[in-house]
C-alpha cells in the first residue's frame, strides 16, 4: 500500500475514533444539540405565526432553514475553530512530525465534519417531525434533494472553514468573528423570508452560503407553494449550484495553499508563543 493510501486510511480511522469520542462525551454531545435546542424553543413560542402572505407556519418554514444554517455554520466555523484550537495544543505539529500526517489529519477532520453535519441534521429533523407539521419527510424526492444540497454545502463550506481557521492566529479571533456571522445569519432569510428585507441587504445575504443552504433545504423539505415567498418566487437551484460552486472552487483552490503555509510555520516555539497568549487570556 502506498504511503498516501495508508495515511488516508489512518485518517479515516482517526475521524471514526474522534466521532466516538464526541458521541460518548456529555460535553461534546451537548454541543451537537445546543444550537438546535435553542432554535426549537424559540420556534415553539412563535408557532402561531405564519409566513407572510400564506397560512403556512413560520416555525415549520424555519426548520429546513436551520438545517441549512447548521450545515453552513458547522462547515465554516466548526472546522475553522478546530484548526485554531488544535494548532494551539500541538495536534497539528504532531501531524506534521509524522510522515503524511497532515494528509491523515485533514482526512480525519473531513470525516468528522461530515458526520457532525449528519448528526445535527438528523437531530433537527427528528425534533422537527415531532413538534411541527408540514415537512415533506415522506417523499423520496425530498431526501434526494436534501442529500445533494447537504453534500454541495459541505464541499462549499468546509474548505473555506479550513482557510478561515488557518488565517486567524488564535482562538480569540474566533470570538471576533462570531458577531459578523450572527449578523449574516439574521439577513440570510433563516428565521424570516429574505424578501421582507431591503434589496441591498438581500444582495449581501445572497453572497454567502448560509442563505443558499437555507434555500436549498427549504426546497427539499417544504411544499413547492412556499417558493412564492422566495426571491424570484422560485427555489433557484441553478443559482444555488452556481454560488455554492464558486465557494467550493475558491475554497478548494485556497485551502491547500493556506494550509500548507500554516503547516510550514508550525514549530514548537511558535506553538509555545500561541499558548502563552492563550494562557494570558485566562489569567
Amino acid at each position: 500500500m502506498s504511503p498516501m493510501t495508508t495515511a488516508v486510511r489512518a485518517g479515516v480511522r482517526r475521524g471514526a475514533i474522534e466521532i466516538r469520542q464526541t458521541l460518548t462525551n456529555a460535553g461534546d454531545f451537548a454541543n451537537y444539540i445546543f444550537l438546535p435546542s435553542v432554535f426549537f424553543i424559540v420556534m415553539y413560542f412563535l408557532r402561531g405565526n405564519t409566513v407572510p402572505g400564506t397560512d403556512f407556519s413560520l416555525s415549520t418554514m424555519t426548520i429546513p432553514s436551520v438545517v441549512g444554517l447548521q450545515v453552513a455554520f458547522g462547515g465554516l466555523m466548526g472546522l475553522g475553530g478546530t484548526l485554531i484550537m488544535e494548532r494551539e495544543d500541538g495536534t497539528l505539529l504532531r501531524a506534521k512530525a509524522i510522515p503524511n500526517g497532515m494528509l491523515g489529519y485533514l482526512v480525519g477532520k473531513v470525516v468528522m465534519g461530515v458526520e457532525q453535519a449528519l448528526v445535527a441534521v438528523t437531530i433537527i429533523l427528528i425534533l422537527g417531525a415531532f413538534l411541527f407539521d408540514g415537512l415533506r419527510l415522506g417523499s423520496p424526492g425530498a431526501w434526494l434533494t436534501l442529500a445533494w444540497v447537504l453534500l454541495l454545502g459541505l464541499v462549499a463550506t468546509m474548505p473555506m472553514g479550513a482557510v478561515l481557521g488557518s488565517l486567524f492566529s488564535s482562538s480569540r479571533s474566533i470570538g471576533f468573528m462570531s458577531l459578523p456571522v450572527m449578523g449574516l445569519i439574521a439577513i440570510s432569510g433563516i428565521f424570516y423570508p429574505i424578501t421582507s428585507f431591503p434589496v441591498w441587504l438581500q444582495w449581501i445575504g445572497q453572497v454567502f452560503p448560509i442563505y443558499w443552504l437555507g434555500l436549498g433545504m427549504r426546497s427539499a423539505l417544504l411544499p413547492d407553494s412556499l417558493a412564492s415567498v422566495e426571491i424570484g418566487e422560485s427555489w433557484r437551484h441553478l443559482e444555488m449550484v452556481g454560488v455554492l460552486g464558486v465557494w467550493a472552487v475558491a475554497g478548494l483552490i485556497l485551502a491547500p495553499i493556506v494550509l500548507r503555509r500554516m503547516a510550514r510555520r508550525e514549530s514548537g516555539s511558535s506553538m509555545a508563543v500561541g499558548r502563552e497568549k492563550a494562557m494570558q487570556r485566562w489569567t
Binding site: M1, S2, P3, T6, A7, R9, A10, R13, R14, I17, E18, Q21, N25, E86, D89, G90, T91, L93, R94, K96, A97, I98, P99, N100, G101, G104, E266, S267, G268, S269, M271, A272, R275
Partner: protein, 272 residues
C-alpha cells in the same frame, strides 16, 4: 546519544527545530540523515522521531489507541531489517505505561505524559530521535524514571538520540557526547568524562591520618594519592577523592559568555 547543553536562550530549541525541519535556517548548511531538513520529504520524516518540550494534544484519546493510529502512518516505510511501526502493546510496556494503556491521555500525570510523548516519538522506530528538554518541570522521581527510560531506549536498538537540556547533570548522566551551546555558538564538544576532565582539572581529596581530617585539591589526584600512600601507608584512612564538579566550571563558562567575554572563555577552555 548526544546532548546539546546550554543555558536558556542559548539557541538549543532553535537548533533542534532546524534539524527537525520545523524552522528554516538563516544561513549555513544542514544535513540530517544525509538530507537537508528544509527539503526533507515524508520518507525522510519517517526516519525521525520528535519529542517537543510540551505537548497537550490528543487529550481525549486513549494511550494505546493513539499509538496504534499514529503508528499506521509508518507502516509503508518499514524494511525487513527495520520493521515499522512498533507494536503498540510492546511500546506501552517499554515506556512503562502498560497499566494506563486504556486511559485517556488527559488523565496522565506530567511524567507519564512525557513518556507518552516519547512513545509517540519512537513509534516509527526512528533512526534519529530528538528530545527537546524532556525533563523540564519534573520532580526528582519523575526525572529519574525518565532517565531510566532513555537509557533503555539507547540500549534497545540503533537509534541515535539528540537531547537538549540546560541541566548539566542530566547531560552527563545520559549522553555519550556533549555539545555546549551558548549564545548560538558551540563552545565545547566532547565525551562526557573527557569534558569533565578538561573543564576541571582539580580534584578534591579528603583523608584521615592519626585522627585528624585533611583536605587538599591537587592538580593530579592520582599521583597525589600514590605519594600519600608512599609516605604514610597504613596510617591513611577514610580516603575520598572527588573530581571538582563540572557544574562550577560550566557555570563560569556560561557566565563569561553571557557577559560578553565569550571568545576568551572558549579559548581558555580549549587551552585547558
Amino acid at each position: 546519544m548526544l546532548a546539546l547543553l546550554g543555558p536558556n536562550g542559548a539557541g538549543k530549541t532553535t537548533t533542534i527545530e532546524i534539524l527537525e525541519g520545523f524552522r528554516m535556517r538563516s544561513a549555513g548548511e544542514v544535513r540530517v540523515l544525509g538530507v537537508d531538513p528544509a527539503k526533507g520529504d515524508e520518507a525522510w520524516r519517517a526516519r525521525l522521531g520528535v519529542v517537543l518540550q510540551s505537548w497537550r494534544d490528543h487529550g481525549k484519546w486513549k494511550v494505546r489507541e493513539l499509538l496504534d493510529n499514529l503508528g499506521r502512518y509508518y507502516a509503508p516505510y518499514g524494511t525487513p531489517e527495520r520493521k515499522r511501526p512498533y507494536d503498540p502493546d510492546d511500546l506501552v510496556k517499554t515506556v512503562g505505561l502498560a497499566e494506563h494503556a486504556n486511559k485517556k491521555i488527559s488523565s496522565l500525570s506530567g511524567g507519564q505524559r512525557r513518556r507518552m510523548d516519547v512513545a509517540i516519538g519512537i513509534v516509527g522506530r526512528p533512526e534519529l530521535l530528538f528530545l527537546d528538554e524532556p525533563t523540564a518541570g519534573f520532580d526528582p522521581h519523575a526525572r529519574r524514571e525518565f532517565h531510566d527510560l532513555v537509557h533503555r531506549l539507547s540500549d534497545l536498538e540503533d537509534t541515535t538520540i539528540l537531547l537538549t537540556t540546560h541541566d548539566l547533570d542530566e547531560a552527563e548522566k545520559l549522553a555519550d557526547r556533549i555539545l555546549i551551546l551558548a549564545d548560538g555558538a558551540i563552545i565545547a564538544d566532547g565525551f562526557a568524562d573527557q569534558l569533565s576532565r578538561r573543564m576541571s582539572t582539580n580534584a578534591e581529596v579528603k583523608w584521615t591520618r592519626g585522627g585528624q581530617h585533611f583536605v587538599d585539591a591537587p592538580t593530579d589526584a592520582t599521583r597525589f594519592v600514590r605519594e600519600l600512600f608512599d609516605q604514610y601507608g597504613e596510617e591513611i584512612s577514610d580516603l575520598e577523592v572527588r573530581r571538582a564538579s563540572l557544574e562550577d566550571a560550566y557555570m563560569s563558562l556560561v557566565h563569561q559568555f553571557e557577559s560578553g567575554q565569550g571568545e576568551t572563555a572558549a579559548r581558555e577552555f580549549e587551552e585547558v
